[in-house]
Subunit: 398 residues, 2 copies
């Protein structure tokens, strides 16, 4: 943990001041600070934002650094995309450590200081992806904090041996238990959910489950998730990613579900997808539900989109939710920064004394302008440690 | 009209060749071309795309070049946004000529060579906005072709004198008759549509009407538009912008409407909005309906989003329609380029002999990569005339 004095920086849309980070934590924000012996950085009037947070991605999947991958699988069938990916990963001989280094450093260069990554655990790749990403997490500890979710991408009850691998992954140090569409993929919601909640209980870890299932099917799976979370007293320990079903057009049923989610303090992670129903920020906010956002996989066999920039993702959150007022767009940014950290159960990234010394300096006249233009980041700081300048991390990717 | 030989350029994803533009038109594409006396440009292996087309924007509205506008009106009420804008334009004293120069040059710097702009015509601003944009169109004739739509943004039957101003606007040279939500704004669909179709008939011009009305209301207005288009034999002369109602979840009714739209060769313009129902590209393609796309207003009193980049808009078309395969993303690009020109009733921008000499050079390994990264444009050419380098137009904005 490092100390740093950043001079002459605008705190969001406020007047310029200085930020003193001591031993990795913001110690003081005020004009004219002085800290003998502490390294100084002149921010020349740039805007400071809290460190960004990618609360849902897949560091083991990106094809960054490879020749352009021509996608001819499309988005029609989830199972076809899963099969294609497992085959391509083996055929190309992707190294999960190298790929996750490239992906995490790209995301960090855009100002993220905290990432939650789902990692494929399956009987073909075994624990190799987790080993690679954990190695990356260790190497990048001073650049970006990486949390791992053991994710049964190819199915759990339908592929013998996967549950045992998940158990080993958690023993090895994966931070959370993952899961996936208990109806749509395994076609055995009881079996799937009993296994992942059993793993969570045995290892004393939280859950973050992908739920793409829409409409009534998704609500049904969500009920089964909540039944188990309640029975095991897992308040605040469950996250549902995507949660497309919360975007369904059935106000009273969605509201009733939001009340139940709020009572169990379930967090929702979204990518703010343009092409599918999605949880609506204002509706969840009215229930005080924690929301984080993520870039999901970037430039992988699933699709060509994405570059790791959580400031662009904040723009997508704004566009998807029709957020136009400055105060609303700032909430979109918060979901991709401090609010996302809280959704992960981590300390809120914020520009105030006592918060982690994680921040991003951007050009611009106003915070909302920085979000909508997502201009290159001038400086990224994690725990008082300068990690990137002009969009490039100081550590080079392999 | 100018001649230009571009050497060593990749034609979309094909092998490098040379492109010879003679008197503004692509004359030949082949390796090793020679054209004595014609200016040469070495494209150093960059990818050539056809000139981009912004088929729906508002050049008279942007606040580009002004201090950051803090939005506190939001998106809840269309009428509140309309009132706020009319007041702000007067309070700031916006000069439509200056604003449209800034906006059009920004769009051109990103590679657009053709723009269709709706221009507010109302009893407060009169014809001032149209005059300003027409002046811009004249000055920028060699940089970007600008087509104008006389647009009754504040209402037509509800604001006396507007129809007469629309008539004058068309006499002055506005290219098309605009209209807006005949139910939602004027609350007199018959009155509104009779006026705009009457203007179209009198001036022998086409129509491009904004239709944000959703679901059954939108389909009702669309039926009334088609009734009149059929009665006046306006096949191929009507455009419906936004057309949110075509995204409604009622397959047989939407299909029946698409058949009727196809029979009258009505073109659809979309922004591929993330927060509202929208026409689905594959569904419209199955009916052979012409589709264009636009950035709509950028950085104006309606919202902070948008920068004028039609390559980013192609990404939004892809994201909104869940287009993942390379061939699908290329269709998204086409909607923002050649297909958009066809939707406007103009010659298709394409990289082949006989097409207009409009093109954009981008860095990248593959066309789809250029779309998803929307990297700065290296060179923009309109009618053989180099208009921009490295994202900057050669002509400076005021």
């Amino acid at each position: 943990m490092t100390s740093l004095l950043i001079k002459n920086v605008r705190i969001m849309d406020d007047e310029p001041a200085d930020i003193l980070i001591r031993d990795g934590v913001i110690a003081e924000i005020a004009p004219g600070l002085d800290a003998p012996g502490v390294a100084e950085e002149d921010a020349t009037g740039l805007i400071a934002l809290p460190g960004l947070v990618d609360a849902h991605t897949h560091l083991d999947k990106s094809l960054l650094g490879w020749p352009w991958y021509k996608n001819d699988v499309g988005g029609a069938s989830l199972m076809a995309m899963i099969e294609n990916e497992r085959d391509m990963k083996q055929r190309l001989g992707l190294d999960p450590h190298v790929q996750s280094m490239r992906h995490a450093l790209k995301t960090a260069g855009f100002g993220a200081t905290l990432i939650r990554s789902h990692i494929d655990i399956d009987t073909q790749g075994g624990l190799r992806a987790l080993e690679g990403v954990m190695q990356t997490a260790e190497i990048l500890a001073d650049v970006v904090e990486i949390e791992t979710v053991a994710f049964p991408q190819s199915g759990l009850t339908t592929r013998e041996g996967t549950a045992e691998l998940m158990d080993q992954a958690l023993a090895m140090g994966a931070n959370l238990v993952g899961g996936l569409d208990p109806c749509g993929v395994d076609r055995d919601p009881k079996g799937h959910l009993d296994i992942i909640f059993g793993l969570a209980e045995r290892h004393g870890k939280g859950i973050d489950i992908h739920l793409h299932e829409r409409g009534d099917l998704g609500l049904f799976s969500m009920e089964m998730i909540l039944d188990r979370a309640e029975a095991l007293d897992m308040k605040g320990m469950v996250t549902i990613s995507h949660a497309f079903c919360l975007g369904m057009q059935d106000y009273p049923r969605v509201e009733a579900m939001l009340e139940r989610l709020a009572a169990m303090d379930v967090a929702i992670m979204t990518t703010a997808p343009a092409s599918s129903p999605a949880p609506m920020v204002k509706q969840l906010d009215a229930h005080g539900i924690r929301i984080g956002a993520g870039n999901d996989g970037i430039q992988d066999t699933w699709g060509p989109y994405g570059n790791g920039d959580m400031l662009e993702r904040a723009k997508f959150v704004g566009l998807r939710n029709n957020l136009r007022e400055d105060v609303e767009v700032k909430r979109a940014l918060d979901i991709c920064a401090g609010g996302g950290a809280v959704a992960m159960g981590k300390p809120r990234r914020a520009l105030k004394a006592g918060a982690p010394g994680d921040l991003v300096l951007v050009e611009g006249e106003a915070v909302v302008q920085a979000v909508v233009t997502h201009a290159p980041r001038k400086l990224v700081v994690k725990g008082g440690h300068i990690t990137a300048r002009d969009g490039q991390t100081l550590m080079a990717a392999p």
